[in-house]
Amino acid sequence: MTRQTQGTTLFTALLVLIGIGVVVQLWLLAASVDAVLRHNVQIPLHAALGSVIVFLINGGLVMYVFWFDKRIKQ
């Protein structure tokens, strides 16, 4: 029972973290579009790199969620 509750809490926490990452990515995308419209070349490149880093973190968290899920099922 305790183990299941902890798992659920961890699951929710990871979900929130991934959600925050996606919101940050959306912000970076909006900043990129804004910079492109201002004819800035550097900002969109940095934003794209930042977005990829956030995606890698998100991907890692998603993998961890599935690994954790699998382990609990076993």
Partner: protein, 172 residues
């Protein structure tokens, strides 16, 4: 709370049959939704990263487009301190070339970066002036210095071949 303890609902037996048809408890229903949400967010994250790269590539694609070489006329046709209108790169893109006091030429898109009115050369202020909302741009760099515009005017690259002036590209 046990299933038959429900006091608000008088028709609990009917509800129990409904639950048999969909034998998923609320707890597991939440669990499935969250797992799907994680998948959705992971995929969304990938798509947003891809979109960000596409947006970052746009300025490079625009730069790679080749511009035509258009003859604007003879240098002597534009008086020092004066200006002349032309269209570049297409017939629908109004531009302005200014013959500066130091004898050099500069050219910009005539479309104001605020709300797209046509800018004109103001000899009195030595500036490019937008009459719509009193926007001012410097002649030397096309930078806004007064009024609502915040972005500089796109600059038209010029080339002098003897006496003749050619527009050869756009610098944004």
């Amino acid at each position: 709370m046990a299933e038959n303890d429900c006091k608000d609902c008088k028709d609990c037996k009917k509800q129990a049959r409904w639950r048999e048809d969909f034998p998923i408890t609320w707890e597991s229903d939440n669990y499935i939704t969250r797992r799907e949400m994680v998948k959705f967010l992971g995929l969304g994250s990938l798509l947003i990263a891809g979109a960000n790269f596409m947006v970052a590539g746009v300025p490079h694609l625009v730069r790679a487009t080749s511009y035509p070489q258009t003859r604007l006329g003879l240098m002597s046709e534009i008086p020092v301190g004066g200006s002349r209108l032309f269209n570049y790169p297409t017939g629908d893109d109004p531009c302005i070339v200014v013959h500066k006091d130091d004898g050099t030429l500069v050219a910009y898109s005539q479309v104001c970066t605020h709300l797209s009115c046509a800018v004109i050369h103001s000899e009195k202020d030595n500036a490019l002036f937008c009459p719509c909302h009193n926007g001012y741009f410097t002649v030397n760099e096309g930078r806004p210095y007064a009024g609502p515009p915040t972005r500089p005017l796109p600059r038209i690259k010029l080339e002098q071949r003897g006496e003749e002036i050619y527009a050869i590209g756009v610098e944004v």
